[in-house]
Symmetry: D5
Subunit: 93 residues, 10 copies
């Protein structure tokens, strides 16, 4: 079951540079683990913004929330979820 997820990152200006580096490394590892597991099939940068548009493939809303709220950057992001359904014109559906 697919969801489009938009994440906008707002890091505090006074974040310690080392803490920042470590935080972003954890975020990247967390994201790549989910990508490898097939849970996060697409992630794109929105050109010009510190934001991404992603597609998640999960079994339920609960699983989606667990994955998103576990993001190391979760406290520093605003996130909006759009549930996706099969489109009748999709040649792969």
């Amino acid at each position: 079951m697919l969801f489009q997820v938009r994440m906008d990152v707002h890091l505090p200006h006074d974040l310690d540079p080392e803490a920042r580096t470590e935080l972003l490394a954890r975020e990247k590892a967390y994201s790549q683990d989910l990508q490898r597991a097939g849970k996060w099939p697409h992630i794109w940068r929105i050109a010009g913004e510190y934001a991404n548009i992603s597609i998640f493939d999960v079994d339920s809303n609960d699983e989606l929330h667990t994955l998103l709220s576990g993001l190391p950057l979760f406290p520093h992001m605003s996130i909006h979820v759009t549930p996706l359904a099969t489109h009748p014109s999709d040649i792969n559906a």
Copy 2:
């Protein structure tokens, strides 16, 4: 080069039913031709809305506009385009 495209359809209430059927058939054929050509790799229905979120893969903004403005439903849709770039955490990039 990828773009997210959101399309919201607003058909006039007084559209002739036959014209409506023919219009939607042309839209579907147009969309599936572009999907088969690799130009429109993803199309999803937004759950609960007469709208879709799509991913287009084109060589330029001009090509994107040509494809979108050629949609049979173009006069009846509001469309918003978001340019996408490679995300540094993308395991496939």
Copy 3:
């Protein structure tokens, strides 16, 4: 799996009164069938508005879209879906 769904109804002013009555009767029957089937556990009127806030209980986004797009009033409503997850403070969860 639960979703909050808000529906705002916009009937055309020039709708034929008989067609209007028949349309609303079909909408009511459709809604009550889904309520009895457990798919639409809650429906509330928003006080002062021709709109409702509902809770749907479905197996997937696809099922949700099938149910909503089948509403007789679907062409005359704007609908917005919010996916719901279990809250950690919910005493029934």
Copy 4:
């Protein structure tokens, strides 16, 4: 008398971790007391957001405000209330 209440939580980044833990424990206890008392019959997490959609069942606007303004997290939330009425299609009404 039912009200939909949406609460969005915005905790300050520099909140002391112990104060945070204690605050969230008080919030949970407060919420669960009201749930057990039948005043707060539903609470759902909005998938992907630090926010909830809840249903309150109270005797008056005054009671609703007393309950909400007493929430330990009240100073850190934006709250929006929507008054709900019986829907004519509700099979339980």
Copy 5:
């Protein structure tokens, strides 16, 4: 129990003048009946707009919706309700 209600009127341009006159007369009578009954204690015109801000005094959300949805102009208005509670600084409370 008090509610603020804002009503914005949007009459169709092609409304028959006689039907318009009769509709507005019915609206005025309906409103004045509720004012006399103490259900609609305040009604003010928003300066420069075809809109009003009103205060309703009702026993429940259901009563409020019944009164508002019975307005002859209801199909031609957008209405927004704000539930009001006693303010701790109110010298009359």
Copy 6:
């Protein structure tokens, strides 16, 4: 001459508790003086929000601004004013 005034309070999180108590006491006294003087005939809490909807009765825009900008909480509030006129259906007008 009447004005509807909406005030939303945004107190800084790090406000000293004693300063906060003293500030709110001054606000209450200031408000109640104006209520007793007939300048501020109505004040209601918006249910669930740290905000109020008030009615002011003043001789001019200048007097209104003087009263509002003198509020002890003025630097911590966003305020929006709506000028009110007599409604033709008002039975007391």
Copy 7:
């Protein structure tokens, strides 16, 4: 007492050309009468839009509403009023 008034004109596309000409002539005469009477001291076109920003000088909100609702174009405009007060830096105040 001054008010800023913004008026946006939305004429129906199917308005009869003669009716349109006559309507605009009446609007102009009405406006110029009020300008000569000192009630409407400023009127400016918003560059690029079928809209104006005006300053009205009236004795009360009631007088303002009477003047604005009497505009021949009133049924075809959206109007927003902002009450103005003396600015402490104004060298003419």
Copy 8:
């Protein structure tokens, strides 16, 4: 003196096809005359939308409004103007 102008076109669905063709031809000729005269140095299509972003080079706000309100499509467009000034980093300024 430069202005950015965004124009969104909303043609009525029931516009006669011949009238539409003639209208668009006049719009194009009008635009190209102004481009040749140096008054409209840039015009770009917004990808995916029936809209353009343009740069106008005029002597005054009055000249700008005269040019824009003379557009054959003016009654069918929403237009927003942004006044531009020299940027201190502009290497051509």
Copy 9:
């Protein structure tokens, strides 16, 4: 050439009181110099808000930006500019 300018002031809460007094005195002197020079013919307080609506009379967008960006309060304001043209009904035009 006239422009309507809206300025909303957002002073930081922790601004040193002396620095605040000095800043506001400089702002007032700056504004009054421009008023005396005829560049800033009108300044009004928006009733109830720490904001003003002003009219500027300048030769170009560049001059307007120079004047506005030179305001001592510029770093603490959000500013929006609307270019004004002569209105065809203006009796003074």
Copy 10:
């Protein structure tokens, strides 16, 4: 391939003056290098705002994001990108 880019700058109030000067100097040098390279053909100040509207000329969305995210001011700006296509009325196209 052209993109319109709007950048709004929000510098923290407590930024060290020397750091601020150095940051702005780096931003200016970075911008002028891209202008000289033909990547950033237009940059305009929005009159009255600490913001610019720019045109970028790049080969891809990826190149655009690389250029924008490399801006020294990137962490202090909100940026919005609009993809541009050739307009059919453009005399230079």
